[in-house]
C-alpha cells in the first residue's frame, strides 16, 4: 500500500470542505480536560534513508552468516524465490477476505489447492483454509473434539511442544476442560502407552500427541489411535515439522490433524507469521473451525470457487462460532501452496536430506556426549546430552559463529542442564556439523 502524506494545504482544503476551521474543531465534542494539550512523546519523523539505516541496524542483530541448529517448532528450510514473486502480486497481497467470489477466483482457487494438498499429505478427508498457527490449531482441535464427542477432557502427551501445551492450557482453563498430561518412556522419548491408556476415562474427548514429537522422535500413531478409539476418544495428531510428511507415514489413523505449515516456505521471522492447519475426517466438518474454499459450477457450467462453510465463523454467528480466531492466514497459506507446487514429489527428497543431515549430526555431535532416546525412529531433530551444560556449550559455539541446540532444562527439568534439542535441515552443511562437533569435543 502506498503511503500518501497530506500537505498543509490538503488539510486546509479538507477542513474547509467540512466547515471546520482547525483540527481542534473536529474534537470539540471531547471535553477540554480529556484532550492532550502537549505534543506526543514520540521520536521526531525520520527521512527515508534514516529509516533504512534504522532497520539495517536491527537486521545486523540477526546472526547472519551463523550456522544454526535450532528447530523446536520453527524450522529453517530453503524458500524457492518463486514464493515471494507470487505472493507479492497485488491480486494476492491483500488482507481482505475473498467474500466476493466473482472478484477473488485466484485467491479462492489457491486456497482450494492448499486444502487439497494438505489432505493428500495428512491422509485426512477435509482441511480448512488455514488458521492462526500450530499451537492455536492444536488447542482449537481439542475444543472441536469436545464439541464432537460431548465429552469434556483432554489427555495430552508431554512430548507435545511445551508451548503448544501452554496455549492449550490457556484455552482449556477458561472452558473448564480438564487436561491430563502423560509422561514419556525414558528409553524412547515416545509417549508411554501404558500410562496413556490409564489416563483415558469415559469423559476423555481426545488424546493429543505430536509426531514427530518435541524430542524429534516419531510416535506410534496407529497404536495410540487404537488405545484412544477403544475408549471412544478422538485422536488429534499435531505436526510441527511439516517437511516430515515427505517421508513419515501420514497420520491417517487420526481423527483430526492440527499442523503448523511454517516449514513449507514460510520464513522464520521474529516469531511470525505462522500457518496453522486443521484437517479431519469429513464427518466432523460441521465442528471444524475456520473456513473452506469449495469448488462449484457457475450458471454456464464453468468451474468456479467460493468460500463455503464460513458460517462457522464469528462474523456470522458470534457466540456460537466454532472459533473466535476469525483471521486465517490466506497469504501465508499461499506461500505454502507455492512451496508444495514447486517441490511436488521432490518433498520426499527434501525430507530424506533432512533425515540424512540430522542422522549425521546426531552421530558426529553426539560423539562428545550422548544422544537420548536412541531407541525410536526420528526425523530431523534429536536430544543431545553433552559433557558440559547447554549454556556453556552454546556460549563456546557462539564464539565459532554457531547457534547450538535449544536448552531443554526449562521444559524438562528431569533431563538436566546438559540436554538440548538439536535440529539439522537441508540448509545445514556437513562443514557446519563438523565444526560444531569440534567445538563440543
Amino acid at each position: 500500500m502506498r503511503y500518501l502524506p497530506k500537505s498543509p494545504s490538503d488539510r486546509e482544503a479538507m477542513l474547509a470542505d467540512i466547515g471546520a476551521k482547525s483540527i481542534d474543531d473536529l474534537f470539540a465534542t471531547v471535553p477540554a480536560e480529556y484532550r492532550l494539550s502537549r505534543d506526543l512523546n514520540v521520536p521526531r519523523q525520520h527521512g527515508e534513508q534514516e529509516v533504512i539505516e534504522h532497520f539495517k541496524a536491527f537486521a545486523d542483530k540477526n546472526a547472519l552468516g551463523y550456522a544454526s541448529f535450532l528447530g523446536a517448532g520453527a524450522y529453517r528450510h530453503y524458500r524457492p524465490v518463486l514464493i515471494d514473486t507470487v505472493v507479492s502480486r497485488g491480486e494476492f497481497l491483500t488482507s481482505y477476505t475473498p467474500y466476493q467470489p466473482e472478484i477473488a477466483q485466484g485467491t479462492l482457487q489457491a486456497l482450494f489447492e492448499f486444502q487439497t494438498m494438505i489432505c493428500e499429505l495428512t491422509g485426512m478427508e477435509i482441511s480448512n483454509a488455514s488458521m492462526y498457527d500450530g499451537s492455536t490449531g492444536a488447542a482449537e482441535a481439542v475444543m472441536m473434539a469436545v464439541r464432537v464427542t460431548g465429552r469434556n477432557g483432554a489427555v495430552v502427551a508431554r512430548t507435545v511442544h511445551p508451548e503448544y501445551r501452554e496455549v492449550l492450557t490457556t484455552y482449556a482453563q477458561h472452558q473448564s476442560i480438564p487436561k491430563t498430561e502423560v509422561d514419556y518412556d525414558p528409553a524412547t522419548g515416545r509417549v508411554d502407552l501404558a500410562k496413556l491408556d490409564a489416563a483415558i476415562t469415559d469423559d476423555t474427548a481426545c488424546v493429543l500427541i505430536q509426531s514427530p514429537n518435541f524430542f524429534g522422535t516419531i510416535e506410534d500413531v496407529a497404536a495410540i489411535a487404537d488405545i484412544a478409539h477403544k475408549k471412544g476418544a478422538l485422536l488429534i495428531v499435531s505436526i510441527a515439522e511439516a517437511v516430515s510428511l515427505g517421508i513419515v507415514k501420514p497420520p491417517a489413523e487420526a481423527d483430526i490433524v492440527a499442523m503448523e505449515a511454517q516449514s513449507f516456505g514460510v520464513p522464520v521471522g521474529y516469531g511470525g507469521p505462522y500457518c496453522g492447519v486443521i484437517a479431519c475426517k469429513e464427518k466432523f466438518l460441521r465442528q471444524m473451525p475456520g473456513r473452506l474454499a469449495g469448488e462449484t459450477k457457475d450458471m454456464d457450467g464453468k468451474r468456479g470457487f467460493v468460500l463455503t462453510l464460513s458460517t462457522r465463523e464469528q462474523h456470522i454467528r458470534r457466540e456460537k462460532a466454532t472459533s473466535n480466531i476469525c483471521t486465517n492466514q490466506s497469504l501465508v497459506a499461499l506461500m505454502v501452496t507455492v512451496f508444495l507446487t514447486v517441490y511436488g514429489k521432490g518433498l520426499k527428497e527434501l525430507a530424506e536430506q533432512n533425515l540424512a543431515k540430522a542422522h549425521y549430526a546426531a552421530q558426529t555431535i553426539g560423539g562428545s556426549g550422548k544422544v537420548l532416546f536412541g531407541g525410536a525412529p526420528r526425523f530431523n531433530e534429536f536430544v543431545y546430552q553433552g559433557s558440559r551444560t547447554s549454556e556453556e556449550g552454546n556460549a563456546a559455539l557462539l564464539q565459532a559463529k554457531i547457534v547450538g541446540g535449544l536448552p531443554l532444562e526449562k521444559f524438562y527439568p528431569e533431563l538436566g542442564p546438559n540436554a538440548s534439542l538439536w535440529c539439522a535441515t537441508e540448509l545445514t552443511t556437513r562443514a557446519q556439523i563438523d565444526a560444531a562437533a569440534e567445538v563440543l569435543k
Partner: protein, 125 residues
C-alpha cells in the same frame, strides 16, 4: 405460500402439528434460501417454549430453531442429515423433531390465518 390450517405457528416461524411434529414455515425456508445443514437435539432433550432447540444453516446464515412448546424430544428426523434441502422442497411436510407435550399449549400459538397476517405485517406485503 401455503400454511396448513391444521398446524399452529410461532412468530419465530416454526409450525407444530397436534401429533408433535415441529418444522419451519414456508416463509422461513424461502427467506433463508438454500438450506445446507440442520442441527438437531438428542432424543429425550428438554424443550422450553421460546428457547432454541437446534439451528438451521443456509449458505450465508445460521438461525436458531425455537421450540413452540414446553416438552421433550421424542424423535428427530435423521433424514435431514443427508438431505437438508428437503426443507426447501416442502417445508410443511418436512418435520425436524417430534415432541411430547401438553396439547393445551397449542391454544396460545398462532393459527394459520393469524400467522399469515403476522408475516404480511412484518414484510409489508
Amino acid at each position: 405460500m401455503a400454511y396448513p390450517t391444521e398446524y399452529r405457528y410461532t412468530k419465530e416461524h416454526e409450525w407444530i402439528a397436534a401429533d408433535g411434529r415441529i418444522g419451519i414455515t414456508d416463509y422461513a425456508q424461502s427467506t433463508l434460501g438454500d438450506i445446507v445443514f440442520v442441527e438437531l437435539p438428542a432424543v429425550g432433550a428438554e424443550l422450553k417454549a421460546g428457547e432454541s432447540f437446534g439451528t438451521v444453516e443456509s449458505v450465508k446464515a445460521v438461525s436458531d430453531l425455537f421450540s413452540p412448546v414446553n416438552g421433550k424430544v421424542l424423535e428427530v428426523n435423521e433424514a435431514l442429515n443427508s438431505a437438508p434441502e428437503s426443507v426447501n422442497a416442502d417445508a410443511n411436510a418436512t418435520w425436524m423433531i417430534k415432541a411430547e407435550f401438553d396439547a393445551s399449549q397449542l391454544e396460545s400459538l398462532l393459527t394459520a390465518e393469524a400467522y399469515e397476517k403476522f408475516i404480511s405485517e412484518e414484510t409489508g406485503h
